[in-house]
């Protein structure tokens, strides 16, 4: 197992990414300190998902450098750091032809873990997300949205990576399941001490998870800070406008009064 804390900071320096002439990420410099939960907040198209994919090495940056634990991410566009980063996407991104169990075990199989070791690790993860017997034998199509996201989380945690990248992980869930899973995710992340970067457009979710929130628009950072900083000391009109565009959260009301 790799040392978790020191080597897992993520640093973007002057990073630019352009898609067909549209600037998705614009000379962005940011440090996601290791061992904390960071939220990338912004409306869709602001470049936040692109940042995750740059960190994963799925996209080469058009300018600047992405470093993970001090090491530059392979700019060939091929993930060079697989195994050190877990990735969860909105709809789960599960393979429909594999059972939940096989979805989770895939990364370990690729590394030729033995069946016993895989079973033991999946047992731990199932307890972590609160799965009973049977669920893992199902195919993704047979699971509920919440169950699918838990499987996806198990898959991301399979190799116990120091870094976890979550792209709108709760985005497609209905409100009740969402609130439930939010709580569960927080309980899982806090003791693990992983570097978590969570992308969302939901202020409530940002407030709930984020030790630091990075609010973005047009590929640039508008403001970084705690939720309280954003509410009390907005860096611009945009921050206030963005925060008030969604129904005020209880946390917000509390902070403002």
């Amino acid at each position: 197992m790799e040392p978790l804390h020191p080597g897992s900071a993520i640093q973007l320096e002057d990073v630019t990414k352009v898609f067909d002439g549209v600037v998705a990420v614009d000379r962005l410099t940011v440090l996601f300190e290791s061992g904390r939960t960071h939220v990338l907040l912004g409306s869709s198209g602001c470049g936040k998902s692109t940042i995750l994919r740059l960190i994963l090495g799925l996209l080469p940056p058009d300018g600047g450098t992405v470093r993970v634990g001090g090491q530059a991410v392979d700019a060939s566009g091929r993930p060079g750091l697989s195994g050190r980063m877990g990735y969860v996407v909105q709809e789960g991104g599960l393979y429909p032809h594999l059972t939940a169990y096989r979805n989770v075990s895939l990364a370990a199989e690729a590394r030729r873990w033995g069946g016993e070791r895989i079973r033991a690790r999946i047992g731990e993860l199932a307890r972590l997300v609160g799965f009973g017997d049977g669920i893992l034998r199902s195919y993704p199509a047979e699971l509920s949205g919440g169950q699918r996201q838990r499987v996806s989380l198990m898959r991301a945690l399979m190799l116990d990576p120091p870094i976890l990248l979550l792209d709108e992980p709760l985005g497609s869930l209905d409100p009740l399941v969402r609130a439930d899973l939010q709580q569960q995710l927080k309980e899982i992340f806090t003791p693990m001490g992983k570097t978590v970067v969570l992308v969302t457009h939901d202020i409530r979710e940002a407030a709930f998870f984020g030790s630091t929130i990075t609010l973005m628009t047009g590929g640039r950072i508008v403001q970084r800070g705690s939720f309280a900083d954003l509410v009390r000391r907005p860096a611009s009109e945009f921050v206030t406008a963005f925060l008030s565009a969604q129904a005020p959260t209880p946390e917000m009301r509390e902070l403002l009064h």
Partner: protein
């Protein structure tokens, strides 16, 4: 019922280097499989007798086969019903058969392409150096002629082709060979200055019916046609001598004559000048109109007893043998097409530019008429199973390549990215993610190809590849519906069975989760 003589189509041998490469690659896959069959041929000297696919040619071929068999000099393998002139000629030139009945007119016009060589002696001279030669003329001249209804001939006072110039309102139905050939309608039209109101192209067997029904007024016929004696037709005199002569002769490999001198002497003794127009016409009628088997007709001519087993018993045995043949053709060619098509599909999906070029190439392959594709195979692989397998595999390629390609490029990009994040190697990604995810598409492509191949495999008979096509080709030549059906019905049944089997294979090959997704998303 086609007493068609010399029907010619001479598809070129144009080959792009790309296709040549594809063929070489395919051969590498198929050759080892086809060897199994080839190895079965035993050491005893064998003579291969060919014929083309019309009654007269079958009858002559069968007579030749029986005459050789009687000498006991060699075992005879009958390769009767080999496509058209192009196929039969290539087969004898290539040594896949030793001899087959041909016509002087066809030899000079279509094979030597030298209309000045008319007589047997002239043609023999031109063949010198090719390893081929001619026997003595059999006697009859099966040339083209035009026929009208007797009743109309009287009413319009038609007795010669020249008389037609007075009646431009008449309509005609001609067989496709006749309409295309310089020594057919185009030349005839110029020679006589003819003009007809409407000229339709029809399958020869159907033109008689069209004439009898009064749908058309003029048809092309052959001077040894079995129907001539029994239908009320008036044959128009070729008063300005346009049609070349089509004297029947045996086109034979010289090495056959030196290896089997007794057989050759027997053939010359039995056949030279042995059959005149009337007699050939009668023999054709026995097969075409009275439904006698070819072997029976040949026996009648040779003055011997007919084949001892009943036609039905022979047919059942034929159908069983041909079923094995057909299954072999379908499975081997489909197997080769899968082994080649899936990797080609993967390649196409990996490289965008190459992929498009490849799909176009495979698509073009598909547009080559199947018979022409079979013809291309002869100079490369001779006749028999091997060229049929290669051609069938090439034909089966398109749905497999295209569906593999479509399946692969249709996979959600995100799922592929995740495979990378999970650390799967390229091979693991292909085998564990991409191919299973496209399995629905790929299997659908293979299924299409399989059913399709069962159908196209019937064409293998044209180049001596065997299979149900044998019965269909023979039945078409003899206008024997039951014979056609005895090939066509099992082929259709086989298509259904194969389709059914693939439904079962789907259950094994397509991952359960995908079938679930499908059923819930439908």
């Amino acid at each position: 019922m086609r007493t068609t003589p010399p029907h010619v189509s001479t598809p070129g041998t144009r080959r792009s280097s790309g296709r040549a490469q594809a063929i070489t690659a395919l051969a590498a896959v198929i050759l080892p499989l086809a060897w199994g069959q080839a190895a079965c041929t035993e050491a005893r000297p064998t003579v291969r007798v060919g014929s083309k696919t019309f009654t007269e040619s079958y009858i002559l071929g069968e007579i030749v086969a029986e005459v050789i068999e009687r000498t006991g000099e060699a075992r005879v393998e009958r390769k009767l019903g080999l496509g058209d002139t192009g196929i039969a000629y290539r087969a004898v030139a290539h040594g896949d058969i030793d001899l087959y009945p041909e016509y002087t007119g066809t030899l000079s016009q279509a094979i030597l392409k030298d209309p000045s060589a008319r007589t047997v002696a002239e043609i023999r001279r031109e063949l010198a150096g090719t390893g081929l030669t001619l026997g003595s003329p059999v006697g009859f001249n099966n040339t083209y002629a035009l026929a009208v209804r007797q009743e109309m001939a009287k009413r319009l006072r038609l007795s010669s082709i020249s008389d037609l110039t007075r009646h431009p309102e008449l309509t005609a139905a001609f067989s496709s060979g006749f309409t295309d050939r310089e020594d057919g309608w185009p030349g005839l039209r110029r020679h006589y200055g003819l003009d007809l109101a409407d000229v339709r192209v029809m399958e020869h067997a159907l033109t008689y019916e069209a004439l009898a029904q009064g749908e058309v007024d003029v048809i092309d016929i052959y001077s040894t046609d079995g129907k001539l004696e029994r239908l009320d037709l008036a044959i128009l005199d070729d008063d300005r001598q346009f049609f070349p002569a089509y004297h029947a002769v045996l086109l034979v490999r010289e090495d056959f004559i030196s290896r089997f001198p007794r057989s050759w002497r027997a053939l010359e003794g039995q056949l030279a000048g042995g059959i005149d127009d009337r007699q050939m016409s009668r023999l054709n009628a026995l097969a075409d109109l009275d439904g006698q088997g070819i072997a029976q007709v040949a026996a009648t001519f040779l003055g011997s007893d007919g084949p001892d087993d009943l036609r039905e018993r022979r047919l059942v045995r034929d159908v069983l043998d041909l079923t094995v043949d057909h299954i072999y053709l379908v499975l081997v060619s489909l197997g080769a097409a899968v082994l080649l098509g899936v990797p080609l599909g993967i390649l196409a999906a990996r490289h965008e530019g190459l992929g498009q070029a490849e799909l176009v190439a495979v698509g073009i392959l598909q547009t080559i008429p199947s018979l022409a594709l079979l013809c291309f195979m002869i100079p490369l692989f001779g006749i028999g199973k091997l060229p049929a397998l290669v051609a069938l595999s090439l034909y089966a390629l398109l749905p497999i390549v295209r569906n593999t390609y479509t399946g692969l490029i249709g996979i959600d990009r995100q799922l592929l990215e995740i495979a990378g994040v999970l650390g799967l190697s390229r091979w693991q990604r292909l085998t564990r993610i991409e191919l299973p995810l496209s399995s629905l598409h790929i299997m659908a492509g293979i299924k299409t190809s399989a059913v399709w191949t069962v159908g196209t495999a019937t064409l293998a008979a044209f180049i001596g590849g065997g299979g149900y096509g044998d019965l269909i080709v023979r039945g078409l030549a003899l206008d024997d519906l039951s014979l056609i059906l005895s090939g066509a019905v099992p082929a259709a049944l086989m298509a259904l069975v194969i389709h059914g089997l693939f439904e079962l294979v789907d259950r094994v090959v397509i991952p359960k989760g995908l079938r679930k997704t499908l059923s819930t998303s439908l």
